[in-house]
Amino acid sequence: MRLNAPIPGANYLSDTRNYAWHRPPDIVDYDEAVSYLIDKIDEPEKKELVFAMLGIDAHITTIVTTILLQAVSKGKIGIDLAILCAGPLARYIEISAKDVDIKYEMGIEDKDRVAITPTLLKISLGMSIDSPEEQEIDGTIEKTMVQEAANRGLMSMPEPSDMVASPEEQAAMLGEVTEEEPEDELS
């Protein structure tokens, strides 16, 4: 069986010094970094790419992330400074898009967020969802019971009509069940 993974200890043998992000970044100043990134966006090719991305409904945050990761991978700026530069860069792209009347979306709104409702909560907890009709019936029964309790009091004595079983019930309790005569199938 062949595994598609580095052999143990491979990290000690590989030369990682040439990765740009393993060396100190070229720019460490906030203003200098923002200026560099804005100049980059203003290059004709980059500008075309940015507008093309906006044209295919890419969010500004996606474009900013791409540009920043590119700058980090080239060793121009550190990753923490890149995060600080995200705001100004997004704002600049927004202004540029407005300038040329391109429809844009910032992408910081949580449109995909699902609102928490009682129904959703019931589903997530595995509780059964009552239909509106059932809920209405339950509500009516509950209301009647509450009304009766309010009229009579919870600890009051039940009415005699509630206590006495009907003659049929009494007969059934005493085992006096009248058996139905079997019908003559032949007749």
């Binding site: 906030y30 203003d31 923002v34 200026s35 500004i60 945050t61 900013v64 992330t65 920043l68 990761l69 990753i79 995060i83 600080l84 995200a86 705001g87 100004p88 997004a90 704002r91 600049y92 202004i95 407005k98 300038d99 910032m106 992408g107 910081i108």
Partner: protein, 64 residues
């Protein structure tokens, strides 16, 4: 938190007008690329007032 999330959070804060206080404190002249700078840039380029400028003007009018 992923890099994307951090970028989104950073953009949100900047659009709210919050600036890096500690970074600004390091420089005697302050930082150049502030939210106000971009508001002015937008006004110059688009010849229309930005939402934040309108809000500020309304606040000043209310105070007066």
């Amino acid at each position: 938190m992923t890099f994307d999330d951090a970028v989104k959070k950073s953009i949100k804060q900047f659009l709210k007008g919050k600036l890096l206080k500690d970074t600004a404190a390091l420089k005697p002249d302050g930082v150049f690329f502030t939210p106000e700078y971009f508001d002015e840039l937008e006004e110059e380029l688009l010849d229309e007032k930005t939402d934040s400028t309108i809000e500020k003007e309304e606040e000043l009018e209310d105070e007066a």
